[in-house]
């Protein structure tokens, strides 16, 4: 029992790791702040493409979504970070992470938004068009607000997944939270910094998970 506490809950080591881990948390949040809006924007474009009447556009969009849903994000990230330099394109870890996660998340957000767009009854679009609203105006003022509302729990779930995904950036030595904690672990040979990072992930994500649960219940009942 003592060994367990010593190995996983060593407060002294946690205290030492805290500044570095908090700095890592800052980078974690920064990645999220960049990737979530980008992913939503890319996802919306791909979602619109996937419900378009233009067959070519539809297939390209669905192909994009399916390929990036099939590819593990770590594979994508390593391909961008470690593969592209061989072709003379060296990217900083941060840029590589942003590009990789953007592609991955666009696909996931696209799939969610596509379901949202399809959930809006056709009559809504007809009503809007019959009052003279154009295609884009109908999308912005009528279709999209309803689409987002209908899939809000799924969108929030994906936000949770993005936060968790940022931990992969540690693999390409971007100093986000897990990387910082892993660094201190490798110096101290003690797992407590990892527990500290895990605790911070919990503080960050548990409330969100509870909120999503409540949303889901409200929608199914």
């Amino acid at each position: 029992m003592d060994a367990l506490v010593e190995q996983f809950f060593n407060l002294e080591i946690m205290a030492k790791a805290l500044p570095l881990v908090l700095k890592g948390l800052g980078i974690t949040l920064l990645i999220c702040a960049v990737v979530i809006p980008l992913g939503l924007a890319g996802g919306l474009l791909a979602a619109l493409g996937s419900v378009s009447r233009n067959r070519a556009l539809r297939w390209i969009s669905i192909g994009f979504v399916d390929v990036f849903r099939a590819l593990p994000p770590l594979v994508l990230l390593i391909f961008i970070y470690a593969g592209l330099p061989f072709a003379g394109l060296s990217l900083s870890p941060f840029v590589a992470v942003i590009i990789g996660f953007f592609l991955n998340n666009s696909a996931y957000f696209a799939e969610i938004l596509r379901a949202g767009l399809l959930s809006v009854p056709k009559g809504q679009i007809e009503a809007a068009r019959s009052t003279g609203l154009g295609r884009a105006q109908t999308l912005i003022w009528v279709t999209l607000p309803q689409a987002v509302r209908n899939v809000l729990p799924d969108l929030l779930s994906n936000v949770v997944e993005v936060v968790k995904l940022t931990s992969l950036a540690s693999v390409v030595s971007l100093g986000e939270m897990l990387h910082a904690a892993g660094l201190v672990r490798s110096i101290t040979y003690n797992a407590s910094p990892l527990v500290l990072a895990a605790g911070l992930y919990l503080v960050l994500l548990w409330p969100l998970i509870r909120v999503i649960g409540r949303f889901e219940r409200r929608i199914t009942h």
Binding site: P121, G123, Q124, E126, A127, A128, R129, S130, T131, G132, L133, G134, Q137, W141, V142, P145, Q146, R149
Partner: protein, 255 residues
């Protein structure tokens, strides 16, 4: 007022004119060369069995369905063909749907003012005044801040009518406006339509409300298989139909 169905579209007394309208879904022809002119302030009722093309005709009148061929004029202005500013001309044609199609994320006033604000670019205060005025005409200005989910079906349909009225259209199209309503809520919607007629609105109505048609319509049209079979004043269509198909259809309704 009586108008023959083949009046030319540009005539001054005609609000809406349809000329030789054709429409198919796939290989299935739905409208087979339809001609119809609706005079200013006239209320024309369209009857017919399901699949006769009534709704398709109505939906072609603001090009929610794209006609295959034929012309449609609204107060002499051509609606069909390329180069028409569809969004502008649609504001002159109000449409009321069977399923209301109110925007669930906006309250009654928001539903009514959306097109005023976004298409006509009215300032908020002016749009809200116009919206309240339209809601008042359907007797619902007191419900302006209610969301569709908080309104009864009849109230929702009246808000939908106000949404169209607020744009000050020249013509109103009604696509089975009372079919989705509980029987006790139908009356309120019909009362609103009667008021609109009294104020001189031009209306083209697809509906099965025979009694209302008999009371309020200026003219009744019977459609079958994509063609107008018979047209005449309600007394004639209901009292002494000339065509066998009309008679057969009406007898089924009277049971």
């Amino acid at each position: 007022m009586m108008l023959s169905p083949d009046l030319p579209g540009a005539s001054s007394g005609v609000a809406l004119s349809i000329e030789n309208l054709h429409k198919s879904f796939g290989t299935e022809p739905v409208l087979k060369g339809l001609d119809l002119a609706v005079g200013r302030s006239e209320m024309v009722f369209v009857l017919g069995p399901s699949g006769s093309g009534k709704s398709t005709m109505l939906r072609c009148c603001n090009r929610l369905e794209e006609p295959d061929s034929g012309e449609i004029f609204i107060e002499g202005d051509r609606l069909t063909g390329p180069g028409v500013d569809l969004n502008k001309i649609r504001q002159r044609i109000g449409m009321v749907f069977q399923s209301f199609n109110l925007y669930p994320h906006l309250n009654a006033l928001g539903n009514v003012t959306l097109a005023l604000r976004q298409v006509q670019k009215m300032p908020r205060a002016q749009a809200e005044a116009a919206g309240l005025d339209a809601l008042d005409r359907v007797g619902l200005s007191a419900r302006a801040r209610h969301y569709p989910a908080q309104l009864s079906g009849g109230q929702q349909q009246r808000v939908a009518i106000a949404r169209a009225l607020a744009l000050k259209p020249s013509v109103m199209l009604f696509d089975e406006p009372t079919s989705a309503l509980d029987p006790e809520l139908v009356g309120d919607v019909l009362d609103v339509m009667r008021d609109m007629k009294a104020q001189g609105m031009t209306m083209l109505v697809v509906s099965h409300e025979m009694k209302f048609a008999r009371d309020a319509a200026d003219r009744v049209i019977f459609m079958d298989h994509g063609r107008i079979v018979e047209t005449g004043p309600p007394e004639q269509i209901f009292g002494n139909p000339q065509e066998d198909r009309t008679r057969a259809f009406l007898s089924r309704f009277h049971g």
